[in-house]
């Protein structure tokens, strides 16, 4: 069976503005039909520019963007038929909610009856049935955002772009709307390209996440793979929390390598083709680190100096000095207790060889 054509393709896309540096560099990305893909990265990393190029508001400097295998280079934004949700909602304040929703239908020449029916259906989708006659400024932020989403969906586009749609909302509302957006996306089966700088949001909603850094994609993968198998030190530290230990590869075995860190040796998963002698950053998740007196038989065990302990309810956060690295974090779940460790104590810590990954230091 042949693979269906991707819904959206970015092919070697570069972008730069008149007299600035490259904003997007050598971007290759595919979105499958019905997929929820998030562009995640710090601000200024080029993710919004990627979205705007697909929407047609910015031309690519070089390279090509295709929808259903057809280049959209010459297509003006109003002919692309994409739903776009903007950061500040961009609801038209001089029109009622109903008129806002009817606007895309009206410019498409739908009859009044069809418009009414579609608007009602869209409002039902975002659970705002009773708000048709309100003005946008009479709605709360969350309601406005739901109207904006309904407006981007009401003309039944197959592809919807969302540019940090939840950025202006408080945390609880954001979480609530994350589920709602996900529900709507599954229900309608639309393809979504979503931009955010919030990694929990990206993890919670996406089928796949593309991590951006300085105009390049560092890694595209499912949230789980991003977390468990980061390919670069940037991804390792941007997604969740990671301890990064700087060292040099001493020897390479089968899938595992030995790394020299500040005179001590540790074993780590060898996931790149780094040869012995090259610089590396070893990434260890704080929750994979164990502290004695728990029974330990790990390939990596070290003496560490406890610098600080914080009690955070569900876990203890212990700051340690390990191998000359003073900001090493270990998280101990609250079911265990900290066994009487106090700041200033010497403690024995350890983790498994496959719980840490030797990443290419040069790319950080």
């Amino acid at each position: 069976m042949s693979q269906p054509a991707p819904h959206v393709e970015y092919l070697a896309v570069h972008k730069r503005y008149a007299d600035s540096d490259w904003v997007v560099r050598d971007l290759d990305l595919e979105l499958n039909r019905g997929e929820f893909l998030t562009l995640l990265g710090p601000s200024g990393s080029g993710k919004t520019t990627c979205l705007m190029m697909l929407a047609g508001f910015e031309p690519a400097t070089t390279g090509d963007i295709r929808i259903d295998g057809v280049s959209v280079a010459g297509l003006p934004p109003d002919k692309r038929g994409l739903g776009v949700v903007f950061q500040n909602y961009a609801l038209f304040p001089h029109m009622s909610v109903g008129a806002n929703l009817a606007f895309p239908l009206e410019v498409r020449g739908l009859s009044a009856g069809q418009r009414r029916e579609r608007v009602a259906r869209a409002l039902e989708l975002v659970r705002l049935e009773d708000f048709e006659d309100r003005r946008p400024n009479q709605l709360s932020g969350g309601q406005q955002q739901r109207v904006a989403i309904a407006r981007a969906l009401v003309f039944e586009p197959e592809l919807v772009l969302m540019d940090e749609p939840l950025g202006a909302l408080d945390r609880r509302l954001r979480e609530q709307l994350q589920y709602e957006i996900r529900r709507i996306q599954r229900q309608l089966g639309v393809t979504v390209l979503y931009v955010t700088h919030d990694q929990t949001e990206a993890m919670a909603m996406s089928d796949r996440v593309a991590v951006f850094r300085a105009g390049r994609i560092e890694q595209v993968a499912t949230p789980e793979v991003l977390y468990e198998e980061p390919q670069t030190p940037f991804v390792a530290s941007f997604i969740g929390e990671n301890n990064l230990l700087k060292g040099r590869i001493a020897s390479v075995g089968r899938g595992v390598c030995e790394v020299e860190v500040a005179g001590q040796r540790l074993q780590a998963a060898h996931i790149s083709d780094l040869p012995p002698g090259s610089e590396t950053l070893v990434a260890i998740r704080p929750e994979r680190v164990n502290i004695a007196p728990l029974p330990m038989r790990y390939s990596n065990e070290f003496e560490a100096l406890v610098e600080d302990i914080s009690f955070l309810g569900d876990h203890l956060r212990v700051r340690l000095e390990v191998c000359g690295n003073s900001d090493f974090i270990a998280k101990i779940p609250n079911i265990v207790g900290h066994g009487g460790i106090l700041p200033g104590d010497q403690a024995r810590i350890g983790w498994g060889a496959l719980d840490c990954r030797a990443l290419e230091a040069a790319s950080y």
Partner: protein
């Protein structure tokens, strides 16, 4: 009560400098006590006269007595000027009679005595004029300001077409003001749009350029246009120099309607740009892309989404420019010539030169009423609470 004390200085200032002078001036348009103050007895007698033929002997007697008294008290010029405005030549008759009266022998009746000095005293229209000028409350100035007159039979009708002065001028003022407002809108809208949507650095610079004219005297700006537009001026010189125009066909661009339009539009443009800019700046820049992404062509997106949101700015700017234009004086007076003259220069003429303050006040009142009516219509149509000045 304490808060009221805080506004008291302002209240006093506004009352003294604005309400009182305005009320005084407006009252002058209808209230004119000079004649009745100088000739109280005469007016008393004339009030009972039916207006047919000549008034009774008592009127002649009263007039003779009060003329002599007025001459002594140097009150005559005030009254004779007002009567003269009703009927030309009366100033001379009154002055002559007053001066001769002392040296003239009483001829049996005062009627004969006055008739001996000037034959005009035997004309009924002389007395009609005095009676009309003597009425302290009069609509005469308004009639004159509207180019109306009282016919022989007492009815009110328009003056003959060729002797109408003020109504054509008022229509012209109205049309020029509307035209200038429209021009300002057409020129100002794209400028405001550009300033509002430029990056901060460029928008500051452009805004500064809009404001720079405010730092220059109005007189300088207007004279600059004279330098540019006159027959031997910069623009004509350039056109002739480039061979576009022959030397004997230089364009007349100043001291006519063109000059008025050009200079007024230039001077009033910032008053359109600033309210527009302030409204446009409050429109999020994502609205146009949002409308386009929903399938509207850029033109349609502008018409349906951007333009309606700028209406409060258009309203504020237009009203501001229109009201300023309708009372504009210096610029049209300097560059308008005969054909580009507006009603304001007639008002100034009657205040400063002819000293017919009643007429000047009547013209001003009519202007005030016109602006008020337009403002009310406007606020009904657009809604004044939606207007934004900045």
């Amino acid at each position: 009560m304490g808060a009221l004390a805080l506004v008291l200085p302002l209240l006093a200032f506004v009352t003294l400098s604005f309400v009182v002078p305005l009320a005084t001036l407006l009252s002058k348009s209808a209230y004119q006590p000079e004649v009745s103050e100088v000739f109280p007895e005469t007016m008393h007698v004339l009030a009972r006269w039916n207006g047919e033929g000549l008034p009774p002997e008592a009127a002649f007697a009263a007039m003779a007595g009060e003329l002599a008294k007025a001459l002594d008290e140097r009150a005559l010029p005030r009254a004779s000027g007002a009567i003269n405005r009703v009927q030309g030549g009366m100033r001379g008759v009154l002055n002559l009679t007053a001066r001769r009266l002392a040296r003239t022998d009483f001829a049996g009746t005062w009627r004969e005595t006055l008739a001996g000095i000037s034959g005009d005293w035997l004309q009924p229209r002389t007395w009609l004029a005095i009676r009309e000028a003597g009425a302290p409350f009069t609509l005469r100035h308004y009639l004159q300001a509207l180019d109306l007159e009282r016919k022989e039979d007492g009815s009110i009708g328009f003056r003959p077409e060729d002797s109408r002065v003020y109504t054509p001028l008022m229509w012209r003022t109205l049309l020029v003001s509307l035209g200038v407002t429209l021009l300002c809108l057409l020129i100002g809208y794209p400028i405001a749009c550009m300033i509002a949507n430029s990056p901060p650095k460029r928008s500051r610079l452009l805004l500064l350029l809009v404001l720079v004219p405010f730092w220059t005297s109005l007189l300088v700006r207007t004279t600059a246009w004279i330098v540019l537009l006159q027959r031997q001026g910069v623009i004509n010189g350039l056109l002739v120099g480039l061979g576009i125009l022959p030397d004997d066909a230089r364009l007349q661009m100043i001291y006519n309607m063109t000059g008025t339009f050009v200079a007024m539009t230039h001077v009033l443009l910032p008053f359109m740009v600033l309210p527009l800019y302030s409204v446009m700046r409050s429109i999020p820049p994502s609205h146009m892309p949002a409308a386009v992404s929903l399938g509207a062509s850029p033109l349609k997106a502008f018409r349906r989404v951007y333009l309606p949101q700028t209406l409060p700015g258009i309203g504020a700017g237009s009203l501001l420019v229109f009201i300023l234009a309708i009372g504009y004086y210096i610029t049209p007076a300097l560059v308008g010539g005969r054909t580009g003259e507006l009603i304001s220069s007639q008002i100034a003429y009657h205040v400063q030169t002819s000293l017919n303050w009643g007429l000047a006040a009547a013209l001003s009142s009519i202007l005030l009423v016109a602006v008020t009516v337009l403002y009310l219509i406007y606020s009904r149509v657009v809604g004044i609470e939606r207007m934004r000045l900045g």
